[in-house]
């Protein structure tokens, strides 16, 4: 799934990385706990989260994730945006809550082949 499709499915607003919307995403993870995010190696991932601080960006960067979606209309600060740009991560926010945002992406087929069993 392209980042552009994520934006459309979640009716999200792009904060930075407008030029990278054609990048491909193949996995997703939804959590407010960063060590949970770090526990699972998945490539070309998107992170859905309600946590808005510098560690959100650094955590995604550590995992080479390509996109972060902030749920419940949470907006990153300027210094977070700068960090994301350095790491080449697309930031967007949606009014949806984590549950619905995840559900929409899952329903559209994102990350379904990776089983959690």
């Amino acid at each position: 799934m392209k980042i552009r499709e994520i934006k459309d499915l979640l009716q999200a607003e792009i904060v930075c990385g407008e030029d990278q919307l054609d990048r491909e995403v193949i996995s997703a993870c939804c959590s407010d706990m960063m060590s949970d995010v770090l526990a699972y190696v998945k490539d070309q991932g998107v992170l859905l989260t309600g946590l808005v601080n510098a560690q959100t960006i650094r955590t995604a960067g550590m995992m080479d994730m390509v996109c972060i979606v902030f749920v419940r209309d949470k907006r990153p600060t300027d210094s977070m945006i700068e960090l994301a740009q350095e790491c080449g991560i697309v930031l967007m926010y949606t009014a949806l809550r984590a549950y619905e945002a995840s559900g929409r992406l899952y329903h559209a087929g994102l990350g379904r082949s990776t089983s959690h069993e």
């Binding site: 960063m34 949970d36 526990a39 190696v41 946590l51 560690q55 959100t56 650094r58 960067g61 550590m62």
Partner: protein
């Protein structure tokens, strides 16, 4: 490359917003040095978890990275409270973090297990009231 390449960082325990900066820098340097992405991810994630732990549990500390021929060694030293029961601390889900730390996205009790998972060896040397030194190795 005969001499190992070394990086040293002082990790500030007073300023949470900078927590993880040293690990981001190490990741950048290893990329410049041309190491494979999976090696870089292992080293940087393990160091990042340890760096955050030093900030939230131990009032900061020091990080030393040695990039050798056959392995990368990560040493994290702090003069924090120490870990009373290492076996317990290593269990997934065990955390002494309070709500104020959870609100910052940490305290799931996954950090130490992640450090073990992403490295080829990990040794914890700790004494209550004195501090903790964690040595991790990732083989090249």
């Amino acid at each position: 490359m005969n001499e190992p390449i070394r990086f040293h960082f002082d990790v500030d325990g007073e300023n949470f917003s900078s927590a993880g900066e040293a690990s981001v820098t190490v990741k950048k340097r290893l990329r410049q040095l041309g190491y494979p992405p999976d090696v870089i991810r292992k080293v940087s994630v393990a160091m990042y978890e340890g760096e955050i732990n030093m900030v939230i549990h131990a009032h900061g500390g020091e990080a030393d990275i040695e990039v050798g021929k056959s392995e990368i060694v990560i040493i994290l030293r702090d003069k924090g409270p120490g870990i009373a029961n290492v076996d317990l601390a290593m269990q997934e889900g065990y955390s002494t973090a309070r709500d104020n730390i959870r609100a910052l996205g940490f305290g799931a009790g996954m950090g130490l297990p992640n450090m073990k998972k992403y490295t080829d060896s990990m040794h914890i040397d700790t004494e209550v009231g004195v501090g903790t030194t964690i040595t991790m190795k990732v083989l090249l």
